[in-house]
Each structure stands twice: as structure tokens, then as C-alpha cells.
Amino acid sequence: MAKVIGIDLGTTNSAVAYMEGGEPTIIANAEGGRITPSVVAFTKNGERLVGQVAKRQAITNPENTIYSVKRLMGRRFTGPEVQRTMKMVSYKIEPAPNGGVLIVLGNGQKLTPPEVSAMILQKLKTDAEAYLGEKVTQAVITVPAYFDDQQRQATKDAGQIAGLEVLRIINEPTAASLAYGLDKKKDEIIAVYDLGGGTFDISVLQLGEGVFEVKATNGDTHLGGDDFDQRVIDWLIDEFKKDQGIDLRNDRQALQRLKEAAEKAKIELSSTQQTEVNLPFITADQSTRPPHR
């Protein structure tokens, strides 16, 4: 029997897993990563890039690099979320004849959000097939608990375009609860806290007889780990300026190193009480006496 894959199609990153010996196992992508950035790009030669490689070239190709497409799934063009997303992204968005949303590339080509999501799903499918050594045709995809019928349908459409039969659309908090084995417990009310790269969702679920009922959902659609990183970077820059009188904001190379160090520090602070950020020769290019931090 062919394997069914489970897909977390995220705003910032996506992941794919399958059941192995009764346990869910994350499948590494072709680049060896456990998560794949939800980014699709089209190069000048017409080549389609998905994931990490698309992200790496984003700054050189802003009009044709599509990210955060989940924010557009099954939405009306006039809705507040689409209007907010339009101001945030570097690619063009226009109204579709049916009142939905179209993404317009630099060459005028138009794509629907499910078409773009399908490209991400296709990459996950191909990588899963390479890993498992067999064809994959069926999947379960998770969506936020607050997704309405249209958004769920758009996600199903994306799966279909990618050549996947979508067996189920499951609520993200439900999937998280199942992964923690919470279905085995009896009547309980639990809160599932999901802090992603760019979104924060909290859901209250009622469990009982194996049923997960979503009692309430809330959150902040524009708050995530990336904002945490930025706060850490800002703090490091301010401290360094106080200490050394040098503003690292104007130094691209230093900023890049700070970004990596800030993310690493954030990750370390999940498991330890304190951490040290040590960036030797951070401004070595600009001064003869290289200050450290």
C-alpha cells in the first residue's frame, strides 16, 4: 500500500512527514533540511525555484519571488488580510474576476494562490518520493482552525493541482494534539499555542471521546519568530552602539552575521536560561582596532 504523507503547509515554512512504525517521522528535503521555506521564485530563464534556493535569490528578484502565499489562500481581494499583505510583499497582487486574488509576475503571467501553493506541495511530494523510494499520491494537509470553507477548499485545490489526493484537511491544533497523544486522554480542555515564523495562533480545544472540538481561536497573524529575531538584533545593535559607539546598521556584512547569531541565540534560549553572543571582528572591515562583541 502506498504511503500517505502529512503536510504542514505553513506561511513561512512547510514540512512533510509520514508514519513509520506507528510514529510520525519528518522527511528531509533534497537539501537535507527538515523544513522547506514556503517560497516560490521564477528566474529570468523561466526556471522555477522552490524552497531554500528561492529564498536565497529573493533580494535579486523581488517581483518574481512569492512568499506568504498562505495569507492569500481563499481570500477576497477586498478583505483586510489581503490588503495588509499587499503592502508587505514585493510581488504584485490584483483582483481576480471572481473577486479572489491573482499574483502577477514580472512578465505579466498570472497565478492563483492555490497554483503557487501547489508548487510548494509538489516540491514536498517530489522530495518525499525521493526519500521513500516510491510514488506518493495521497496526503493529509493541515490548515489553521480559523480557516473557513473557501480557504480549506483552496488548500484542497492546491493539493489536487500538485497531483495529490487530499484525504483530509485537518486543523493544525488538532494535528498537534494528536502528535502529543492527547487523544488518549478523556474529557479535557486544552490550549494549543502555535508560534510560527510569521504568525501566532492560539486555539482552545475540547477533547472527549476522541473528538476535538475547536471552542475558540485567536492570535496575531503578523507576529512570529522572525519578529523575535528582529528584536534581538535591534537590542544587540543598540548595546554595541552604547558600548563601542559604532552603528552596525550600516554594515551589511555585520547585519547578516547579527541576524544568524540572533536566531541562534533565540533557539538556544528555548533550552537554556542564558546564552552568549560572540561575534569576533564584527567591524573588522571598517576600523583598524577590531572591536568584538
Binding site: 534556493v53 533580494i59 494528536l178 571582528f281 582596532r289 577590531p290
Partner: protein, 192 residues
């Protein structure tokens, strides 16, 4: 797990119907698979089911073993790659430090010692299969380079005009892309 979800969703729908309101939205309302007509001999049917289960498990195991072997081969080759990738940070530190030696220290035995240390570290890593990859002046390739800036220059669009961090390969695998600035051509405006 799928069964649990199916059961859960059915129960949920039933509850929603009883309440008369609409429960939380769910696109998937497929009816459960039609019931099989009762078999002539339940024991035969059971035997067939179990045989199929066994076949499936044997196939799964064969696949698992294949995958495990492939992973082990990869592992022996790249087991060190995580550690080496971390040490690259130290190598970068040496590069930066030695590129900006204060004038008054240049040529002193102490600085020479630092050069020797750097060469020793590099030698050890190269013996493990590590190779630096040059990027400057090449055409930007997202499989090898990560763009951190896009600036106008007299070089053709897409050319790498500055390298902020070197790319490294371990054997044939890129373990770290280069961080680069890419030319946006002579008429492009600054975009970053």
C-alpha cells in the same frame, strides 16, 4: 490516526446536527467507505486481511532497510559535516582577523604564530575533504550563493561583486553557501 480523525469528525458532525447550529467548518464531509457485504466465510476473509497486512509490513521493512543502508552510507561520508560547518565560523574569524592586522603588529613573531595556527586548522579540515569555493566575479547561482544585497555596479547584472562569506564544500556537497552582493547592472537602483 486517520481512523481516529474520521471517527472524531463524524461525532463532531453528529453533535453539530443535534445542536442545530453549524459546528466549525469542514470541507471534508466524505461519507465513510461503504460497508462490505458480509463474506461467505469470515475466517477466510480474516486470513486474507492478515496475509495482506503481513505483505505490507514485509514491503515496508524491505524499504526501511534500503533507506537505512543508504542513510548509513551517507552518514559515514558526512558524519563530520555538522561539526565542520560549526568550525567554519572559527575559520571565518581567522580570515577576518588576519585580513586586518594592525600595522604595528605586522611581521611580529606573535602574528606569524597566528598565521601558522590558521594554516594548521585549515590543513586539518582540508584533509577531511573541505574545500573553499570562490564566488567573486561569477554569475549568481542560488544553489551555491545567497544574495544579501543587490546593488548597481559597472559589472553585468547578476554578477557577484562582493563576497561576505566564503562557500565551502565537503567532498562534493556544498555545506555552506557564499553570502554575496549581486550586481543589478549599471542602471539599476539600489535594492536591499
Amino acid at each position: 490516526m486517520d481512523d481516529k480523525i474520521r471517527r472524531a469528525e463524524e461525532l463532531l458532525e453528529q453533535r453539530a446536527r443535534e445542536r442545530g447550529g453549524n459546528g466549525h467548518a469542514n470541507v471534508d464531509t466524505d461519507a465513510p467507505a461503504a460497508e462490505q457485504p458480509p463474506a461467505a466465510n469470515p475466517a477466510d476473509q480474516r486470513a486474507e486481511e492478515l496475509t495482506n497486512d503481513l505483505k505490507r509490513m514485509a514491503a515496508d521493512f524491505a524499504n526501511y532497510r534500503k533507506r537505512n543502508e543508504a542513510e548509513r552510507t551517507e552518514f559515514t561520508k558526512f558524519a563530520k559535516s555538522d561539526l565542520i560547518a560549526k568550525i567554519l565560523d572559527v575559520l571565518d574569524g581567522f580570515d577576518r582577523a588576519l585580513a586586518t592586522i594592525p600595522e604595528e603588529l605586522k611581521g611580529t613573531p606573535w602574528v606569524e604564530g597566528m598565521w601558522l595556527l590558521e594554516r594548521k586548522l585549515r590543513g586539518i579540515l582540508e584533509a577531511e575533504g573541505l574545500k573553499p569555493v570562490d564566488s567573486l566575479g561569477l554569475v549568481f547561482d542560488p544553489y551555491q550563493h545567497e544574495a544579501v544585497a543587490h546593488l548597481p555596479s559597472d559589472k553585468p547584472e547578476g554578477t557577484i561583486i562582493a563576497e561576505h562569506q566564503k562557500a565551502y564544500r565537503l567532498h562534493d556537497k556544498l555545506i555552506r553557501p557564499a553570502l554575496v552582493t549581486v550586481s543589478s547592472g549599471s542602471e539599476g537602483k539600489e535594492k536591499n
